[in-house]
Assembly symmetry: C2
Homo-oligomer: 98 residues x 2
């Protein structure tokens, strides 16, 4: 089994492109820090469809223990606190087997 972790975010009104870039850049450092990450993709919504949210993260792990290591890692938590919390309006997540 591979575990895929999916997160979608909607940001607060007034969120700037610079804040979104800082979030993306900060998260993209994590595969170099957390060896349990097998694959990692993040990015802003492309604006193709109406009604879509603002940003997504997909992260793959070999197993639940790998996901939990990522979830609870201090460098991940630090980026959530610095880059996500100030701009987050809503967050939805699913973990599923691929």
């Amino acid at each position: 089994m591979t575990l895929r972790h999916v997160v979608c975010f909607r940001f607060l009104p007034g969120t700037t492109p610079e804040q979104i870039t800082a979030l993306a850049d900060g998260l993209r450092e994590l595969p170099g820090i957390i060896p349990e990450i097998v694959a990692y993709h993040v990015g802003p919504n492309l604006g193709i469809n109406p009604g879509t949210w603002d940003f997504a993260v997909t992260a793959d792990f070999d197993d639940e223990a790998g996901f939990v290591a990522y979830r609870d890692h201090r460098e991940h938590q630090a980026r959530i606190q610095s880059f996500v919390t100030p701009i987050q309006a809503e967050r939805v997540a699913v973990q599923f087997a691929t």
Copy 2:
């Protein structure tokens, strides 16, 4: 660029495991029908974290045209109507570049 399409669903109260299996099985036929799909993963939430939603889809395409071909394909739309609409409480989607 690769385009990754992410969808998270929350289902209505009373949704049965059989309905969720029918949804997953129906969607998993689509890569054999729609050649624009480069990679396709669907599945029910594993229940690791509290607050997570019920089901996710990730679909990869070479470009926006490939995504639109999938989005609007009659076999995709037929499965949405048969398997998603009867059980959907909420749906969130993002398309981003990977």
